[in-house]
């Protein structure tokens, strides 16, 4: 009987200590979690401020002024736009001249006074890329 009581007291004491430890561990972790959340929030706020600044710096008028100052870009007019279907035909692959640009090899074989890039004979099939690929 005495032994049983001692056993129960031991168990109760162990549980008490364990509970104490777990409680403080949980408290500690909750504090860490809250700190992390605070950090996430402050980071989100910093990102938010940076987004606003990014938008401000990316104002179209600002970009335009910077492009004018630093780059040689000009407005795109229709003469600079074309369709892939309208490209000239593909250059023929000449047999026998490996690793050389066709036309150059041709010209070097012929007279040196001729222009180096003689227009190649057109191929039967024009180079086309389907509309799906272009997008």
């Amino acid at each position: 009987m005495r032994r049983v009581t001692v056993l129960w007291f031991l168990i109760a004491a162990c549980l008490g200590v364990a509970l104490f430890l777990v409680k403080y561990e949980v408290q500690d972790r909750e504090e860490k979690l809250a700190a992390l959340h605070r950090e996430i929030l402050s980071n989100q706020e910093a990102v938010h401020v940076l987004e606003a600044e990014w938008s401000y710096l990316n104002r179209p008028s600002n970009l335009e002024a910077m492009v004018r100052r630093h780059l040689d870009l000009v407005p795109l007019d229709t003469t600079r736009l074309g369709q892939i279907e309208r490209l000239p035909m593909r250059l023929p692959v000449l047999p026998g001249i490996d690793g050389m640009v066709p036309g150059v090899g041709e010209a070097s074989l012929a007279d040196a006074s001729l222009p180096a890039f003689a227009p190649p004979p057109p191929l039967a099939r024009p180079l086309t890329i389907s509309a799906k690929v272009r997008q």
């Binding site: 929030l41 606003a52 938008s55 401000y56 104002r59 008028s61 335009e64 407005p75 229709t78 369709q83």
Partner: protein, 570 residues
């Protein structure tokens, strides 16, 4: 223990019965109490298990709530169709003082004004001497200012964080986005229209406006206003097939970041709130109405040689051809006489019903509080029918006009105009026959190829449109001949319209380089041309070969009697 009980039981039977009874009662009560306690503990244990293990599969509720906590800015962002910020809320420090803690108000005020140069030392000093515990000194400081104020080291100055609405695009989106008051309540524009949504939501509000196109339209419009010394103007780009507003500009505009400083003229939204007699651009509707009603075909025409006299008015053509004109010619030369005759054949009731169907008699369906109510004649007399045929006597907002033109050219389907980004097909209501829409597209192309709108011909983009030059109603009765409202409304590419562009310039003055003209063809058409040229690559509209046979065939108008090629400037 049992031995003694048996011993006693053996000695006395009577006693045994009493003891047994007492023992039985005691045992029963003990069992009952034990059962109750067990039940109680079982219930508590069950509840503990339920709370800790079963509900939501996890233990405490607090971490769940904390994990979801995202940044709350008090008011949701507004972004354009590509996700660029148009309006956002930032936390800014506001400076206040506790005069009780200030040791030397004069010195503090002097030091403070070296950092915050907007403040006056005397004002600050009076505030710091006030017999209160709280005075605002300056709201919404920049981080740099906050740092410098802190560096002064004056005791009694404190900061309080406040949310401030910031518009990174400054004046660019002024009339679309509107602005808020100091308490973050929407006052105008989208801020007002979606006040509830913005205040509740965290998700940004996606507008249909494209900032790049908005910038182009604003720049070109401002350019024309400056060149022609005009007092203002508006520019609109609509998606012809969804009703989305790609750009909406009204000049002069304002910076919503400092909304308090603006004049009433700057605040006035000419694109949606202002209603104007739009002039000849209304002939698009007049011609569409007659073609749709079947009273004329493209091969019919009217005698436009004699001015029409009714009551005290005389309706004449500005550069009259003085001969019989076919319907395409009436549209091309912008003949008022021909337009009146076309409208009279349809009749007053027919015209009223048509305008109602096009939505010209009601405010727009648009997500803005600034929506103008059209000025509709009442009663609608035959004289009104006549004047409305060439765009006078019925005042609508430029947005009405743009949306109506979208309906005319997109196959006759009326869709509500919107400022919100939409995805997928927009259901519309068919108000015109597809054949009418096709004929109108050809006629609008004709105006640009060989009519009053030649200045709008952006090479490769097949612009089709109509010029308009209205005389503004003067102070008293009658019209002021010198104050004009010059506009150009266009659709491109006109063989399959994707976008509508409208430019309207308010009171342009004739200039030397324009030979004194301030008409739609001189003022608005060049702006439309440049807008189309600059915006089309961004909008994904590819240029086409305008001489390709299939395109020529699509837009061919068979003129019954293509006589002289003289141009009307109207």
């Amino acid at each position: 223990m049992t031995d003694t009980t048996q011993l006693r039981a053996g000695k006395s039977v009577r006693l045994e019965g009493v003891t047994k009874q007492a023992l039985d009662i005691g045992r029963n009560r003990l069992i009952l109490a034990g059962c109750l306690l067990t039940l109680g503990f079982a219930a508590i244990a069950g509840r503990v298990i339920e709370l800790s293990a079963l509900r939501d599969h996890n233990e405490p509720a607090i971490p769940t709530a904390a994990a979801d906590a995202a940044l709350q800015t008090g008011r949701a962002d507004i972004v354009d169709r590509n996700g660029m910020l148009v309006a956002t809320s930032l936390r800014t420090p506001s400076l206040y003082a506790d005069p009780g803690e200030i040791l030397d108000p004069t010195r503090a005020a002097r030091k403070l004004t070296t950092v915050l140069t907007d403040l006056h030392a005397t004002d600050v000093e009076t505030k710091l001497r006030a017999n209160r515990r709280f005075v605002w000194l300056q709201r919404n400081l920049t981080p740099h200012e906050q740092y410098r104020v802190n560096a002064l080291g004056i005791p009694g100055l404190h900061f309080m964080d406040e949310w401030k609405r910031i518009y990174p695009q400054s004046a660019l989106m002024a009339h679309v986005v509107g602005y808020t008051d100091t308490d973050d309540r929407g006052i105008a524009g989208v801020e007002r229209a979606f006040d509830d949504v913005l205040r509740d939501g965290r998700a940004p509000l996606h507008l249909s406006v494209d900032l790049r196109i908005q910038h182009i339209v604003r720049q070109e419009l401002a350019h024309q206003i400056a060149r022609f010394e005009a007092i203002g103007g508006s520019g609109i780009v609509l998606d012809a097939n969804t009703g989305e507003t790609i750009a909406m500009v009204s000049l002069p505009d304002f910076d919503p970041n400092v909304a308090g400083d603006m004049s009433p003229d700057q605040r006035f939204n000419r694109a949606t709130l202002g209603v104007y007699e739009m002039g000849s651009t209304f002939k698009i509707f007049n011609t569409a109405m007659a073609l749709d009603a079947g009273t004329v075909t493209l091969r019919d025409g009217y005698d436009a040689s004699e001015p029409i006299r009714i009551a005290r008015f005389t309706i004449r053509d500005f550069h009259g051809e003085n001969r019989w004109l076919s319907v395409p010619e009436i549209f091309k030369y912008s003949s008022n006489i021909g337009s009146v005759k076309m409208a009279m054949d349809v009749g007053t009731e027919g015209q009223k019903a048509f305008m109602a169907r096009m939505g010209m008699l009601k405010p727009m369906s648009l997500e803005l509080p600034e929506r103008g109510y059209p000025l509709v004649p009442s009663p609608w007399r035959p004289i009104n029918t006549m004047t409305i045929s060439f765009g006078h006597g019925l005042s609508v907002s430029p947005m009405h006009l743009a949306s109506g033109v979208a309906t005319v050219v997109n196959g006759g389907i009326k869709r509500p105009t919107t400022l919100l980004k939409t995805t997928g097909r927009v259901i519309g209501e068919e108000v015109l026959k597809p054949a009418t829409s096709e004929a109108m597209r050809k006629l609008m192309r004709l105006v640009v190829v060989d009519g009053t709108g030649r200045n709008a011909d952006a090479v490769g983009y097949l612009v089709g449109g109509k010029t308009g030059t209205a005389e503004k109603a003067g102070g008293g009765r009658g019209y002021a001949r010198k104050s004009l409202l010059s506009s150009f409304v266009a659709a491109f590419p006109v063989n399959d319209p994707k976008y509508i562009v409208l430019i309207m310039v308010d009171e342009p003055k004739g200039q030397k380089f324009s030979h004194g003209y301030a008409t739609g063809g001189w003022v608005a058409a060049p702006a439309v041309k440049r807008i189309v040229e600059r915006a089309a690559p961004l909008l994904g509209v590819a240029p086409v070969d305008m001489d390709a046979p299939e395109i020529r065939r699509d837009l061919l108008v068979d003129l019954p009697d293509a006589g002289g090629k003289r141009l009307a400037s109207f």
